[in-house]
């Protein structure tokens, strides 16, 4: 008999929805044309491309020409940072520009910003977050300077699920200086939160396919018309000359359909939240010496993040994995750098608390039975590991 498998790592990646897969399939070997070709084979590929762009712009409430397809959200984030700064200098910028990011951004924002800072091309301010993992408006206000050209704050954090006040930050920025580009990495938010770019007051927004039951290796960047940006990848001039390379049509079609299904699956969010709360309550009731990291109020409905004091997150992860339950940890032991997660450090967790942390992220596939099963196995795993540690 096949061993039961329960996947609770949906913030890492999600399975491709069967409807998405079905929609993608013809674009591999039937509608395989190059959308730049003007013959009919090119036409049918282009149709898929156009439809996907339409689906995404409907979801974000923007123009379809404001959607640029990329090779994933890491590319979208890199491009946005490099592209805005590059264009600033290209346009004859004189004094070093200033950019603001938060301390809990994905590495795909932090690393490009640090790289430009090392090259002496920008000044960077890293915003702190409070204990709940939320950027406070006052901090944004204090950080904005005369030479600020870009602010990037993620919509929802991948580790602790904390939801940022993007709408309010956007309002504040626009009130201060209309010229500042405001970007949000919405990768974890798409499934659960309002991503209307006009509501959010954002100029740019990053999307990934594989976090929303779509394919890997495809993403998009929403970029408001008129925002100056230089390309990251140059070549044949696809995507209005801003992102060259023959389009990944099957992937793009999959991304479009995945976004389309997100709006249709909206009702499922409450079910997921109920299951999440059940697991949180169960852990707090049945396992002593635990702490929930982050806030319950401003939290993605599928995110759970606990520290199980006296033991180590990687040990819990491996033990659960042996039993067919897949989770994640912010422990240094699970990272090649041997450093605890920068997000957990940013919310003030001690190394020990990070060390003992485990993240559970639920998804569309998660059932009520799964939660009962996981809680049961988890209690045993924690007890056993605490026996080994003698704590």
């Amino acid at each position: 008999m096949k061993k039961k498998e329960i996947y609770l790592d949906n913030a890492a990646t999600t399975p491709v929805d069967s409807a998405v897969l079905k929609k993608m399939q013809p674009y591999f070997n039937k509608k395989y044309g190059n959308s730049s070709s003007i013959h009919k084979a090119g036409d049918s590929a282009r149709k898929g491309l156009d439809e996907a762009r339409q689906q995404i712009s409907t979801f974000l409430n923007c123009l379809s020409e404001e959607i640029y397809f990329t090779g994933g959200a890491t590319e979208s984030n890199n491009w946005l940072i490099y592209g805005v700064v590059d264009k600033f200098w290209e346009n004859g910028g004189k004094n070093k520009p200033h950019i603001i990011i938060s301390s809990i951004e994905h590495k795909a924002i932090i690393e490009p910003a640090k790289y430009l800072e090392e090259k002496n091309l920008v000044e960077v301010t890293i915003l702190p977050v409070n204990k709940q993992g939320i950027v406070e408006l006052d901090e944004v206000k204090k950080a904005i300077k005369k030479n600020t050209i870009l602010v990037s704050v993620m919509y929802a954090n991948s580790e602790i699920g904390s939801i940022q006040p993007i709408k309010q930050i956007g309002e504040l920025i626009k009130k201060t200086n209309q010229e500042i580009v405001f970007h949000t990495d919405a990768v974890q938010a798409i499934n659960y939160l309002n991503c209307n770019v006009k509501y959010l007051n954002v100029d740019a927004l990053s999307i990934s396919g594989h976090k929303i039951y779509g394919p890997k290796g495809v993403g998009a960047l929403y970029l408001k018309k008129g925002i100056p940006i230089a390309p990251l990848i140059r070549g044949g001039g696809q995507e209005h000359g801003l992102r060259s390379g023959t389009e990944n049509i099957p992937g793009i079609v999959g991304l479009g359909e995945a976004i389309n299904l997100v709006s249709k699956n909206n009702k499922d969010n409450n079910r997921i939240k109920t299951l999440r709360n059940k697991l949180i309550t169960g852990i707090m009731k049945d396992i002593p010496n635990v702490q929930l990291n982050g806030t319950l109020e401003y939290r993605l409905p599928n995110n759970i993040h606990f520290s199980f004091l006296g033991i180590e997150g990687e040990g819990i992860l491996i033990e659960l994995s042996e039993q067919g339950i897949y989770v994640s940890t912010g422990s240094a032991c699970a990272s090649h750098s041997l450093k605890p997660s920068h997000v957990l450090s940013a919310i003030g967790l001690s190394d020990e608390e990070s060390h003992s942390s485990v993240r559970f992220t639920l998804g569309r596939q998660t059932s009520n039975n799964d939660i009962d099963y996981v809680l049961n196995i988890l209690i045993k795993a924690v007890n056993r590991l605490r026996k080994i540690s003698g704590r």
Binding site: E322, H336, L385
Partner: protein
Amino acid sequence: MYSKEVIKHFKNPKNMGFMKDPDGVGEIGNPQCGDILKLYIKVKNNKIKDIKFETLGCAVAIAVSSVITEMAKNKTIEQALELTEENIAEKLGGLPQFKMHCSNLAAQALKKAIKNYRKRDLSR
């Protein structure tokens, strides 16, 4: 991710738990990743007669703790001191490079326990 041996020792660790009245104790904390490994030994006629461990750590830290207790048991003090991180890793069917520091941790803890034993022995 890990070898079958690592998983075997992690799931069914040998010689796990607290020891009453040990002849030597060695505790090593890894400042890098925060693991804490503690070894207790009982020595008779210069041989390690009994050995136990308590470890707060990842799967590999628990596996190396378990395997070093097996390797050190019934060895003379001199033989036990010769155990290296490579010996331990080899016994576990190899470790990923970024986990080699765990096996080093076990070797260090054993050395520390023996040092502690020798100190106590002198003061008797």
